[in-house]
Symmetry: C2
Subunit: 114 residues, 2 copies
DNA sequence: CCAAACCATGGACAGTGGTCTATTGTTTTT
DNA sequence: AAAAACAATAGACCACTGTCCATGGTTTGG
């Protein structure tokens, strides 16, 4: 598919998709047209973008996402890939703990406001 | 206490504390010395800063934190304050869901890397 | 007393994560 | 055919979240 469709289906803007591509989060190929240089994106990209949406919301940086994508791509080196992914899971668990703390703090605030 | 002590005890740098103060997250008073203009921070600030550390890690922005601080300060308008805090709790719960999704995604990745 | 450490203020700078604009060319719709 | 929509590329621009630096003054340890 072309970037417009990908944008529409993923909910990211064209600009953001290009930004992500520049940063190695997704890849595209130049189409086979003789007359234009429109890029082609596989369905794969859409799957990744859907993950990115949640992962960004969950607090992962673009650099984090790149390392995950790379871990997937270079799964020839499985141990390294596993290590990266395990590390990210660990980070997310810590973040979840922090969210729990913050929620408790706010619930306290709330009961003080009673 | 003075900013250096606050920095040391909170783990934030002096610069960050000043940045937070500029952004309304904490307040200080000018000390009573005749010869200097050193600012004084109450223990209260330390409590807030400890919360901020976790809350930032949990993905709350400085603007978010300011609105919570303000909700606390202007608790004369309790309903408004409650609404702000409830809204933040809601956001954090959504963020926690996103983290859960991301973790599941990564665990899938992991089992693919098996 | 003097150096080291501290403080205030203000502004410059940096990294992240985009967004917007300009330019130029292509495709699709009417 | 003309207008509208789409695309590529490059670079400017933005808000956010700090960090660093310069300057000038103050306090403290030895």
């Amino acid at each position: 598919m072309r970037i417009g469709e990908l944008a529409q289906r993923s909910g990211f803007s064209r600009d953001t998709i290009r930004f992500y591509e520049q940063n190695g989060l997704i890849t595209s190929t130049v189409g086979d047209s003789e007359t234009n240089s429109y890029r082609k994106y596989k369905d794969d990209c859409l799957v990744w973008l859907e993950f990115f949406a949640g992962a960004r919301e969950a607090g992962m940086s673009v650099a984090d996402l790149r390392s995950i994508v790379e871990a997937n791509a270079e799964s020839c080196d499985r141990e390294a890939a596993r290590a990266v992914v395990l590390g990210k899971i660990e980070e997310l668990n810590e973040r979840a703990d922090q969210i729990g703390n913050a929620i408790r703090f706010l619930e306290n605030t709330l009961s003080r406001l009673g």
